[in-house]
């Protein structure tokens, strides 16, 4: 077993508010193996995107990283100097942003936007080599060479998302963070973009952290999945096992939630609302909505523990595996 490429240890990202710190990411620990596809799911406001940005140290005020470590191949990105992190971003850890529509510069040609990042990192690369690399990248994400000279408004949403993907892989990073890369696309295009992302991942051998809320997409794409609730991980495990036998009551509800084409009937929602992060419930953050709550849940915060090999869950219903 190879060493983990990305390790996140007890990461805490807070937002400064007039009512005190808002704990958007509160002690998340996870790791990515080389070539692994890891999925991170959660409702809106669960801290998914905050976590994704913090991994690249792109947190902006009023947000700030309160503590913890993000180790990318041994280098702590939280402690790294501004100069060091500039060299790492895109070259080793790249982001595919949520809204491809709005993340491209509307007045720059596609080719210039792709080359921009490469040129910044490889200052000595001659123009002809840059051009060549750019065309290679377009081919990798299945875009036609003539699109190099187009402007973003001439492309459809799926194609813009492919351009973002080309930029993300332009320096063959070790880790790609994809923050809801297809949430603005319809199903047919979504499938095509995800298949391309999968091919690129395999050919480059990068690890992918896919952030999203679509359980269907997760089931189709990732190998391991982490469920985020109110800034904390509720459950982590191999995707097949988590879908077959979800352990945490929240995961159970989340998996029962999406309507399917199989059965028609009652809609199942999760009762209650996600908690306000400024005023978290005591004990387990999920206990006010949990159908299996016990007296202990409102008192003690459950820690994330391994209950079966490879399956981690933060819930009082389970006891730690004995080794």
């Amino acid at each position: 077993m190879k060493a983990d490429i990305l390790q996140v240890r007890n990461l805490r990202v807070y937002y400064q508010t007039s009512l005190g710190p808002l704990k958007a990411v509160d002690g998340v620990t996870l790791s990515l193996k080389p070539r692994e596809r890891f999925g991170l799911v959660g409702e809106s406001g669960s801290g998914k995107s905050t976590l994704a940005l913090a991994l690249m140290r792109l947190t902006k005020p009023p947000g700030y990283i309160e503590g913890g470590q993000v180790l990318l191949d041994g280098l702590d990105l939280i402690k790294a100097s501004e100069n060091e992190i500039r060299k790492v971003r895109l070259a080793q850890i790249a982001l595919v942003p949520q809204g491809a529509m709005s993340s491209l510069n509307p007045v720059m040609r596609i080719k210039d936007q792709i080359i921009d990042g490469i040129r910044d990192h490889l200052k000595k690369m001659p123009g002809s080599a840059l051009e060549e690399r750019m065309h290679e990248l377009l081919a990798k994400v299945e875009l036609k060479p003539e699109m190099a000279n187009m402007f973003p408004h001439e492309l459809s949403g799926g194609m813009k998302q492919r351009v973002c993907l080309a930029i993300a892989i332009s320096l063959s990073p070790k880790v790609i963070i994809a923050d809801e890369p297809t949430s603005a696309l319809d199903v047919v295009v979504q499938k095509q973009v995800m298949l391309t992302l999968g091919q690129v991942q395999e050919s480059l051998g990068v690890s992918i952290l896919l952030v999203g809320h679509d359980m269907g997409l997760m089931a189709q794409f990732v190998e391991r999945i982490g469920v985020l609730y109110a800034g904390k991980l509720a459950e982590v495990g191999p995707v097949r096992e988590v879908f077959k036998e979800p352990l945490h009551p929240y995961t159970q509800l989340l998996i029962a939630c999406p309507p399917s084409l199989e059965e028609k009937g009652q809609f199942k929602g999760i009762p209650g609302l996600p908690p306000l992060l400024l005023n978290l419930p005591s004990g387990c953050v999920f206990h006010p909505r949990c159908p299996q709550t016990t007296s202990r849940c409102s008192v003690k915060i459950p820690s994330l523990k391994e209950v079966y090999p490879g399956r981690w869950v933060a819930c009082h219903l389970y006891t730690e595996v004995k080794r």
Binding site: E154, G158, V188, Q220, L254, L261, F267
Partner: protein, 341 residues
């Protein structure tokens, strides 16, 4: 059987650009549908971005006039209504928009969107009566009036705001509600509650619903019949069970196959459909609009646009694969084809 709302061979062409170089975009082409007065139903309208879903909604609401064809409410043309007729139409046909953030004025309390229609349509004689009416509408969809009224939009979650819009629509006791992507911006856990609310409005109060979405799964869950749009044309229409369980048009088949199934053991197949080259490269096409992506393309597909073939009693498909079936006239949708019940 009287028809409430009807679109009769509606075409909408948008033109843009300068005086000499006008560019024409056909947003909707020869679309017909009707919502009947008896048997209130839920009709799903699905299609990808740019397929004309929202244009259809805006036409049905009378916001824009069709280039060709007519939109009729209770037999009267929407574009030629008298003041009283228009008022009646505005009360009886309600809409729920996609974005629960933009429909609110941030400077007003959320009560504003509820009290305005009550005042405009004189639904209550006194303030206490109006308050009661509003509270009743909120309770009917499972919101606590004391938790929602008197607050500003930013103090409520997206799901709550969208449910207030459902309450507002139901407040007016409409005959028809048009819901344009009502749940695409709320979380999966709240999505279910809102769809349940909509279904209740249909079943309990007999309100017909037009559910516009790009999400086939929710459309399947809630609708009785479905209209699949592709680049402004109806490609398949009919009973929801037939269309989803046994799609006949190659595009509908592609749509159904693209849904990510929440089961890791049931993987997506590899995709053989070509990626759409560029949205600007879509050339003038005399035949079927789907021909350049269709795996079953035949010579005839590139020449003549296919008509709607009635493949069985409750479904019609715009595809030459079914050319042995009888052709139905465009305006018969909703009369000959529809849900079984």
């Amino acid at each position: 059987m009287t028809v409430l709302l009807e679109a009769r061979n509606v075409t909408k062409v948008f033109s843009s650009g300068g005086f000499f170089k006008r560019k024409k975009t056909v947003a909707l082409e020869n679309v017909s549908l009707s919502i009947k007065e008896s048997s209130p139903s839920i009709t799903g309208v699905v299609g990808e971005t740019g397929s004309g879903k929202t244009t259809l909604a805006r036409l049905l609401l009378g916001f824009i006039a069709p280039t060709e064809g007519k939109v009729l409410y209770k037999g009267g043309d929407l574009q030629r209504m008298s003041r009283d007729e228009r008022l009646e139409f505005q009360r009886e046909v309600q809409v729920i928009f996609q974005d629960p953030f933009e429909v609110y004025n941030p400077f007003y309390k959320v009560d504003h969107v509820l009290t305005t229609p009550v005042a405009k349509f004189h639904l209550a004689r006194s303030k206490t009566q109006a308050r009661k009416l509003i509270e009743h509408a909120l309770e009917a969809i499972g919101l606590q009036p004391e938790e929602t009224l008197g607050r500003y939009p930013h103090q409520l979650s997206g799901g709550q705001r969208q449910r207030i819009m459902v309450a507002r629509a139901s407040l007016l006791k409409p005959r028809i509600i048009l819901a344009d992507e009502p749940v695409s911006m709320v979380d999966a856990s709240l999505r279910a509650t809102i769809l349940e609310n909509l279904r209740k409005l249909n079943q309990k109060f007999g309100i017909s619903l037009l559910y516009i979405t790009h999400d086939l799964t929710t459309a399947y869950q809630i609708s009785d019949n479905i209209i699949v749009l592709y680049q402004g044309s109806v490609v398949e229409v009919g009973d929801i069970e037939l269309v989803i369980k046994n799609p006949q048009h190659p595009y509908t088949q592609l749509l159904v196959a693209s849904i990510p199934v929440p089961d890791p053991d049931q993987k997506w197949g590899q995709d053989s459909t070509p990626v759409l080259v560029s949205k600007t490269s879509a050339k003038v096409n005399w035949g079927c609009k789907f021909v350049d992506r269709c795996p079953f393309g035949m010579p005839i597909c590139g020449k003549d646009p296919p008509p709607l073939f009635q493949t069985d009693g409750y479904r019609a498909v715009r595809c030459y694969l079914y050319k042995d079936a009888s052709v139905i006239a465009g305006n018969a949708i909703g009369k000959d084809v529809g849900p079984k019940r």
